[in-house]
Symmetry: C2
Subunit: 274 residues, 2 copies
DNA sequence: AACTGTGAAGATCTTCACAGCA
DNA sequence: TGCTGTGAAGATCTTCACAGTT
C-alpha cells in the first residue's frame, strides 16, 4: 500500500472508516465506466466485481454513506456517482500544484484522471531556472519563486511533491508555510509536518519490494514442491537464532551485488534536473 | 493506500503479517540512511521516528523476523539491513520489465531506488514502433514483439505496467502467459489475473481523492469554528435520507463541472503515445 | 538504567448470514 | 424472488504496559 497518513490517527471523520474512504475512488471509477455505457443500475455483486472487491464489503461500505440502493434491484448508477463524488469532495474544484517537473512530475501533469475528478492543475513548479517557461502538458513550468503568489492567488490547499528526496522536506515546509494542508508525496522520504496537515505517500520502490517478498515465497514453495524456474536463491550463512548480533555480524558478502550500478545516488529518484 | 493484492487473501506467508511486510521497506530505507552515515546501532524509538511509525509497532514488526536486537542497547544497523533485505528477497537479483514508456514509464526507468534494491530493469517495452530504439535511462526501448524473448532470456518474474488503461489488461495477459507472476500496475484499471499471480496497484488519482476527502472535512470543521479560507463548498439539493432513489434522482446539476477539460479521455492517463 | 520482546487488551476491518424490503 | 442493509462473528492490526535481558 503505497499509502499512509501522518497525523490525525483515529479521528475517522464523520464516522466513515478510513478503509472505506480508500475504496470510494475505486467504486467511483467503476461507476463512471458504467455511467459512460449508460447502464442505469448495478447490483452490489456486479459493481464489486468491476471494482475488484467483494460484494459484502461494498455493501457495508455504502451503508456508511446512507441507504442509496433499492432492495431487489440494486443501485442507481448516476445517483451513486453523485453521492460518492460529493462524499469525496469532488463536486468542488481542487486547485493543485505539482512541484518538481521531472519525468514523474510531467507524467502527473499529463495524467487525465485528475481533471476528470475535480482536480485542476493550477501550476507546475520547478527549482531549475532552465525549466522555467518550458511547456509541459500545455502549461508553462514556473520557478519556485512564484510559489507564494500561485498558492495565494489560486487558493491551493493540495500540493504534490515530485522532487528528489533531498529537496522534499524543504519544499514541504514551504508549501505548509503557504497554507497547503494536504500533500501527496512521491519522494522517497518521510516528511514531517505539523498537526493538521495530511500527507499521503506513493513510493514506487516500496511496492516492488513487497512484490519481491511474495515472489520469493512463491519460488520457495515451488522449490519444495518441484524445481521449475525458481531463481537461484543463494542463502548465505543465516543464523536461525543469532544469540549475539555483535557489530559486524552481517555477512561479509552482504546483500548480493548492491554497491554497483547507479553510483552514490542512494534513494534519490533520478527524475528531476536538480 | 495506493495498494492492493488480488489473490492469495489470508495466506500470510510464513507467518509475517501483511501489514508488517508493507513496512519493512520503510525500515530498510531508514536503516540504509543510518548505515550510510555509519551509525552502528539504533534504538526502536529512533528508528521508528526515522521511518515515521511508532516504536511499539516497529518492535512488534521486528519480533516476527526474529530477535535481532539487544536489550539495553538497540539494533545493529548493518545486521538489520541484511536481515530485512533477506526477508524481502532483496539479496537476490530481480529482473523487471517496464511496459509502456511514456512519462511515467520513463520516470520509473530513471528511478534510482530500483537498482539500489536488487531490482534490475531488464527491458523497456513500448507498443509504439516509433519508440523502438530510442534511448531512455540509458537503454533502448524495445517493441512489444520482443517481449517473449526478453522475459524468457532474463527469467523475468516481475512486470511493471505503465500503459494507458485501455491496454493494461491485454499487456497483463501477455505477461502472465509468459510466466510473470508479480505485476505492479500503474494503469487505472482493475486487472484480472489467475490464481497465483500477485497484482499491486498504484493509482495516482486515488491518492488525491483520499486527500480531497480529508481536506473537505477540514474545511467543514473550520467553517463551523470560524470562516478562514474555507473553499466555497456548494452543497446542492442533498436528500438526507432519500427514500426512493428513482432513476434520474441525480440532481440535474450533477457533479459540478465534470464534463469539461480533457475531452473524452476519461480515465486514461495521457502518459503514453498509444 | 536502558531498551527489547511480547502477552493481552483494544481498535479496526472483513466476512458471514440473514432479516427486511421492493 | 432478488437484492440490499446490517448485526454479529471472526480476522487482522495496533497499542499498551511490563517482564526479561544486557
Amino acid at each position: 500500500m503505497a499509502t499512509g497518513r501522518t497525523h490525525r490517527p483515529a479521528t475517522r471523520s464523520r464516522g466513515i472508516p478510513e478503509a472505506t474512504v480508500a475504496r470510494l475512488p475505486l467504486y467511483l471509477r467503476a461507476l463512471t465506466a458504467l455511467s459512460e455505457r449508460s447502464v442505469p443500475t448495478v447490483s452490489s455483486e456486479e459493481l464489486a466485481a468491476a471494482a475488484g472487491v467483494n460484494s459484502a464489503k461494498l455493501r457495508k461500505d455504502f451503508s456508511y454513506l446512507g441507504s442509496y440502493g433499492t432492495r431487489g434491484v440494486g443501485y442507481d448508477v448516476e445517483y451513486l456517482v453523485y453521492q460518492i463524488s460529493r462524499e469525496l469532495g469532488l463536486t468542488q474544484d481542487w486547485p493543485v500544484v505539482i512541484v518538481g517537473i521531472g519525468n514523474l512530475g510531467a507524467a502527473l501533469a499529463n495524467y487525465g484522471g485528475f481533471a476528470s475528478r475535480g482536480f485542476r492543475v493550477a501550476a507546475l513548479i520547478d527549482a531549475d531556472p532552465a525549466m522555467a517557461g518550458k511547456p509541459v502538458a500545455g502549461m508553462p513550468v514556473q520557478h519556485t519563486d512564484e510559489l507564494e503568489r500561485i498558492i495565494t492567488d489560486n487558493g491551493v490547499s493540495i500540493g504534490v511533491i515530485a522532487t528528489p528526496a533531498g529537496a522534499a522536506q524543504q519544499v514541504c515546509d514551504r508549501l505548509v508555510a503557504l497554507g497547503v494542508t494536504s500533500i501527496l508525496n512521491f519522494a522517497p522520504t518521510v516528511l514531517s509536518v505539523p498537526e493538521g496537515v495530511d500527507v499521503r505517500k506513493v513510493d514506487l520502490s516500496i511496492e516492488l519490494q513487497i512484490l519481491a517478498f511474495h515472489e520469493q515465497r512463491k519460488a520457495g514453495e515451488e522449490t519444495s514442491a518441484g524445481p521449475g524456474t525458481a531463481p537461484a536463491v543463494s542463502t548465505p550463512a543465516t543464523p536461525a537464532t543469532p544469540a549475539a548480533p555483535a557489530a559486524g555480524a552481517a555477512p561479509a558478502a552482504g546483500p548480493a551485488g548492491r554497491s554497483g550500478k547507479g553510483g552514490p545516488d542512494g534513494d534519490v529518484p533520478a527524475v528531476m534536473p536538480a
